[in-house]
C-alpha cells in the first residue's frame, strides 16, 4: 500500500495554497470584513436600543431574521444529506465535493441559530431554556435537534478529515503552529489497517445517522410554523415541504461553492463538468419535487378557499403586494433551473452555476414569503392606524445583520480552506504516511541542495 503520488502532488499544491492569500482573495476578504463590521455595528445598535430598531412589530413579530435562520439551516443540508447519501452509496464521483459539502453544513449550522438569537427579546435569559424548558414546545425540539445536528456534523466533518490532517501533520510547514495543531487533531492516525477499519466504520455510522437527523431538524423547523393556527403555516405537508426546499437550496449553494473554489484554487482538473452535471441533475430533480410541493400546497388552500387562507393567497397573488416576489420565488426560481439543466444544449458549468444562484436567491425569497404574508394576515382584521404595524419592511439594521451573516459564512469558508485542503487529498485506500514523509523530505532536501548550489555559484561569480 503505497502513497499515491497523485495525492502527494495534490497535498503539495494545497499546502502551498494554504499559506498564502492571493490579491483577489484579499480584496474579497476586505469587502466581507466591511460587511461583518457593519453587522457588528447593527448588533450593538439592536442591543442598546432594543428590538424597536427592527421592522418587526406586534403583527409581524418574526422578520427576515427567521427567514435567514431557515435559509442557513436549509443550506446546511448540502453536507448532511448529499455527502451522507453519496458516502453510503459509495458514489464514485463524490470525492472532490464531499469536504466542501460538509464545511457548508457546519458553518451554516453555526450561523443559522444566531438569527434566532437576534430575534429573541431577552438574550440575557437564554439559560431559561435549560432551567425551565418545556418539551411540549417546538422551540425546545428545535434547540435539541439543532444542537445534536451541529455536533453530529462536526464529528462527521472531523472523521472525514482525519486522513488529511495526518498528512498535513507530516507536511513540513514553515510555521510550526500549524504542525502542532495538526498533530493534536490527527490523534496519531497513521493509516494502519486497524485504524482504517475503525475510521471507516465511524464514517459509515455517522453518514447513516446524519441523514434521518437532518430530515428531523428541518421537519422540526417546519413544525414551529405548522403547529400554529395560522393560514399558510398550519399545513400537514409543511415538514416534507421544508425538507425538500432545504435540500434544493443546499445543492444550489454546493454548486456555487464548487464553482468558486474551482476558479480560485484552479481545480479544473479535480472538479470537472461531470460533477456539475451530476449535481445539476440532483438540483433539477429536487426542483421538480419542490415545485410539486408548492403546487400542491397552494392549489389545496386556493381550492378550499377558506377566508383566512385566501387572505394570504390574496397577498401573494396581488401585484401590489407580493406577486412579483412570489413569481420569482415559486416559478422563475424553479422552472429556470429545471429547463436549463434538462436541455443538454444549455447545460454547462457556468449555466448550472448561474441557475443555482437564481434557485438559492429564490429560496431565500420563498422563506420570506412563508413568514411575512402570513403574519401580515392575522385572523382578526388588522385595524391599526400605524402603517408599520400593518406592513413589514426590514430596516437597515436587519439588512446589515443579514449581509453580515452571508459575509461571515464566506469568510469562515475561506479561513477553513486556509486550514485544510478544500478537497480530500488522501483517499481511503491509501495512507502510508511514512512513505509520504519520505517523498516530501526528499523533495525538500533536493530544493535545499539546489538553493545552496545556486548560492554557491553566485558566490563563485562574485569572487
Amino acid at each position: 500500500m503505497n502513497l499515491n503520488p497523485k495525492s502527494a502532488k495534490m497535498l503539495d499544491y494545497f499546502a502551498s495554497q494554504m499559506v498564502k492569500v492571493s490579491k483577489p482573495g484579499i480584496f474579497w476578504l476586505a469587502i466581507a470584513t466591511v460587511f461583518i463590521i457593519g453587522g457588528f455595528y447593527a448588533l450593538i445598535v439592536q442591543i442598546v436600543e432594543g428590538h424597536i430598531v427592527t421592522g418587526m412589530r406586534d403583527n409581524v413579530v418574526w422578520g427576515i431574521f427567521i427567514a435567514n435562520f431557515i435559509f442557513f439551516i436549509g443550506i446546511s443540508y448540502a453536507g448532511a444529506l448529499i455527502s451522507g447519501i453519496l458516502h453510503l452509496l459509495r458514489v464514485e464521483w463524490r470525492t472532490p465535493i464531499i469536504r466542501i459539502a460538509e464545511i457548508i453544513t457546519v458553518i451554516s449550522t453555526l450561523i443559522g441559530p444566531a438569527y434566532i438569537l437576534l430575534c429573541m427579546g431577552r438574550l440575557d435569559r437564554l439559560h431559561h431554556l435549560a432551567l425551565f424548558g418545556r418539551i411540549q414546545s417546538p422551540i425546545i425540539w428545535d434547540v435539541m435537534a439543532i444542537t445534536t445536528y451541529l455536533i453530529g456534523s462536526i464529528i462527521f466533518l472531523y472523521l472525514a478529515s482525519i486522513r488529511d490532517l495526518a498528512a498535513l501533520r507530516d507536511y513540513p510547514f514553515k510555521s510550526k503552529w500549524r504542525n502542532k495543531i495538526y498533530t493534536i487533531l490527527a490523534i496519531g492516525f497513521n493509516g494502519t489497517p486497524k485504524q482504517n477499519r475503525y475510521l471507516d466504520r465511524s464514517l459509515d455510522i455517522m453518514s447513516a445517522i446524519i441523514i434521518p437527523l437532518a430530515i428531523l431538524v428541518h421537519s422540526v423547523l417546519a413544525w414551529i410554523f405548522g403547529m400554529t393556527l395560522r393560514p399558510g403555516w398550519h399545513s400537514t405537508i409543511f415538514a416534507p415541504y421544508f425538507v425538500v426546499a432545504a435540500v434544493f437550496s443546499g445543492t444550489g449553494v454546493l454548486i456555487i461553492a464548487l464553482w468558486i473554489f474551482r476558479k480560485y484554487y484552479k481545480l479544473e482538473s479535480y472538479i470537472t463538468k461531470i460533477h456539475f452535471n451530476y449535481l445539476g441533475i440532483i438540483l433539477m430533480i429536487l426542483g421538480a419535487l419542490y415545485a410539486y410541493f408548492t403546487f400542491s400546497e397552494y392549489l389545496t388552500s386556493w381550492y378550499g378557499s377558506e377566508t383566512w387562507e385566501m387572505e394570504v393567497l390574496y397577498k401573494l397573488f396581488n401585484p401590489n403586494e407580493y406577486w412579483w416576489w412570489f413569481f420569482f420565488a415559486a416559478i422563475i426560481g424553479v422552472v429556470l433551473p429545471i429547463i436549463v439543466i434538462l436541455i443538454p444544449k444549455f447545460r454547462n458549468i457556468n449555466s448550472i452555476t448561474a441557475v443555482s444562484v437564481i434557485a438559492v436567491l429564490a429560496l431565500w425569497v420563498k422563506r420570506y414569503l412563508i413568514i411575512i404574508p402570513t403574519l401580515e394576515a392575522p385572523l382578526l382584521p388588522l385595524q391599526d392606524m400605524r402603517p408599520e404595524y400593518i406592513h413589514y419592511t426590514p430596516t437597515i439594521i436587519e439588512w446589515l445583520l443579514t449581509f453580515a451573516g452571508v459575509a461571515l459564512f464566506c469568510v469562515l469558508f475561506f479561513l477553513f480552506s486556509k486550514f485544510m485542503p478544500i478537497l480530500p487529498v488522501v483517499k481511503a485506500d491509501e495512507g502510508n504516511y511514512a512513505e509520504l514523509r519520505k517523498t516530501v523530505l526528499k523533495r525538500i532536501v533536493k530544493e535545499k541542495m539546489k538553493e545552496t548550489e545556486i548560492k554557491e555559484s553566485e558566490k563563485m561569480k562574485d569572487l
Partner: protein
Amino acid sequence: MKNLCKHILILGLIILFGMGNVFAQKAKKKTTRVGVAYFKSDTKIETLVATLRVKEKRYIPLNDAVLTFYSVSDTLKVLLAKIRTDENGQAIFALANNSKIAKDSTGLMAFVVEYEGNSLLKDAKRKITVKQAGLEVSFFQKDTIKFIEIEAKTADPNTQAAPINNLKIKLYIKGTFSLLNFANEKTDKNGIVRVEFPIDMPGDTLGVLTIVAKIEEDDVYGTVESRGEINWGIPVPLVKEKQRGLGDTDAPLWMVYTLITLLSAVWFHYLYVIFMIIKIKLAKL
C-alpha cells in the same frame, strides 16, 4: 339720524356683551352636589357614605375636598367629623355608637353633610334621616321544600325591637364580585318574609351558599344588610390540578418517551463514534 341709531345700537350691543361677560365671571363658580347614603352591614357596622360631585359637563367626583359631618336635632347641630374625599369623591364616616349622635324619641337620627366651597366652587349640603333597623336570616325545611325566612325589626338599642311591616326586602346570592338578586318581597304584619330557597344554584365544594337579605335605599331605614350561610347549594368539586398535556407544566408521557428514545438513539451513536476515535488514537503505531 340713521347713523345715530346705528351707533346707539352698536353701543347697546357692546354694553350687553360686556354685561354678559360680567355675568359669566360670576357664573364661573361651579355647582357642587353632596349625596349621602346610610349603610348598615351584616357585621352591624354603620356608615355614612358621602359623595361630593362638581358640575362640569355632567357631575364628576371631586377628590381631596373636606366634607363635614354633623348630627342634627331640632335644637342642636353637633360636629361629628371632617373627612377628606378620596379619588372617587367619597368620604366614609363610621357611626360606631358615637355618643354625640342625637336621636329623637322615635329613634330617628338626622345628619347633615356639608361642603364649604371655595373661591371656585359653590358650597353644598345634604340632610339625611335614618332609623336603625335589623334583619335576621334563618332557614327551615317544611316537608321537602326549603325556605328562607327573614325577619325585619327596628334596632334602636334604647328601645324594644318592634317588627317592621310592609318593608321591601331584596334577596341575593353572594357571588365573588356581585350579588345575584333572586327575590323581592314585602314583609307581612309580623315583619317576616318567607321565600323558597333557590336549590339549583352551585355552591362551593360543600354546597355552601351565602344568602344576603337587604333593605335597599329605604327612605326610613337606609340600606341594611344581613347574611346567612347554608349548604343547600349544589356542591362543585375542585378540578384535579396535576395533569399532563400540551398546555401543562409536564409533557404527555408519549412525548417524553419519544424524545428520550430519539435523542438517546442518536447520542448513543455519537458516543460510539467517539469511542472509535479513542480507539484510533490508542491504535497508533
